[in-house]
């Protein structure tokens, strides 16, 4: 034993004899792969989508409360900074949706080979960015058109 930390890696075989447990190298040892970023990004996107959903409750509760509260929420959704947060929420939701569909495919036994996973990664990124941009632009466009119609 050269390092005291080795003591933590002593394990027992099922017959009771002692053995050294294998040590896995730390994250920075590995070469960067897109799939490892997409994996942790899915988890982060899930947390961000949950946080956004908690904020989204403000919208539905304000609508239930009355016009006064609702106009407060509209001030946030009309503000560029608020719209940036909403776009971020949309990005998190869309990516979590896309990655979730990939997970469901993997669970069913499809596209789970190394080659297929590496092929699908960039596609997932493209679909996520494209869908998010289309959604944000579309919703913003509809909202602007509608408020202009009301004003005139």
């Amino acid at each position: 034993m050269q390092d005291v930390r080795d003591a933590l890696y002593v394990g027992q075989r099922s017959d009771g004899t002692l053995t050294r447990r294998p040590m896995s190298p730390h994250l920075q040892v590995y070469r960067f792969r897109l799939s490892m970023f997409l994996s942790i990004a899915n988890r982060a996107a899930g947390v961000a989508a949950a946080g956004g959903s908690a904020l989204g409750l403000c919208w539905i509760s304000a609508a239930a409360k009355g016009p006064k509260s609702f106009s407060k929420v509209q001030k946030v959704t009309g503000n560029p900074l608020g719209q940036l947060v909403l776009a971020g929420w949309a990005l998190a939701l869309v990516y979590h949706f896309v990655a979730g569909l990939r997970h469901l495919a993997w669970d069913s036994g499809y596209r789970f080979d190394k080659k297929e996973i590496n092929e699908d990664g960039p596609v997932a990124v493209g679909v996520t960015v494209g869908t998010t941009l289309a959604l944000v632009a579309g919703i913003l466009g509809v909202a602007i058109c509608r408020s202009r119609k009301k004003a005139s």
Binding site: D15, G16, R43, G46, V47, A50, S53, A54, L57, I60, S61, A62, A63, A64, G66, P67, F70, S71, L93, F97, G100, L101, H103, L104, D107, L135, G138, I139, L140, V142, A143, I144, C145, R146, S147, K150
Partner: protein, 143 residues
Amino acid sequence: MSNPHKPHVKVMRSQLSRARGLGSAQTGVAHWWAERASAVALVPLSGWFVIQVFRLAGASQPEVAKWGARPLNATMMLSLVILTFYHTQLGLQVIIDDYVHGKAHLPAGLLMKGIVFLLGLFGTVSVLKLALAGSSRGRIAAG
């Protein structure tokens, strides 16, 4: 057990009770399965919600209230809110299982469940208020 030199565990329990304690608890995949089932349910609900956002973008409060008073919208919205926060709780529990160790693990999970439960209930009550406010207004007008 025939080899006296090999260490082995001696127990005073019957072999049956030992096997019961060691065996599957029958719920090993329950959490995983619940996560997938709620995810599958959220796919069409999310699609429905995107359509509703396009319908409601830039809408005023009376318009949203009118939308929320429709039973179909209220049903879909309730399903969406309940399943979203149920799925959130399942997902955050996995993250806590992965990163929070030792004594803090149980309180962290309970705190997260409490917060997510309250958020989900808050959304549910809001949707119900929108859904039922219309009918009560009708009753006042009729009475």
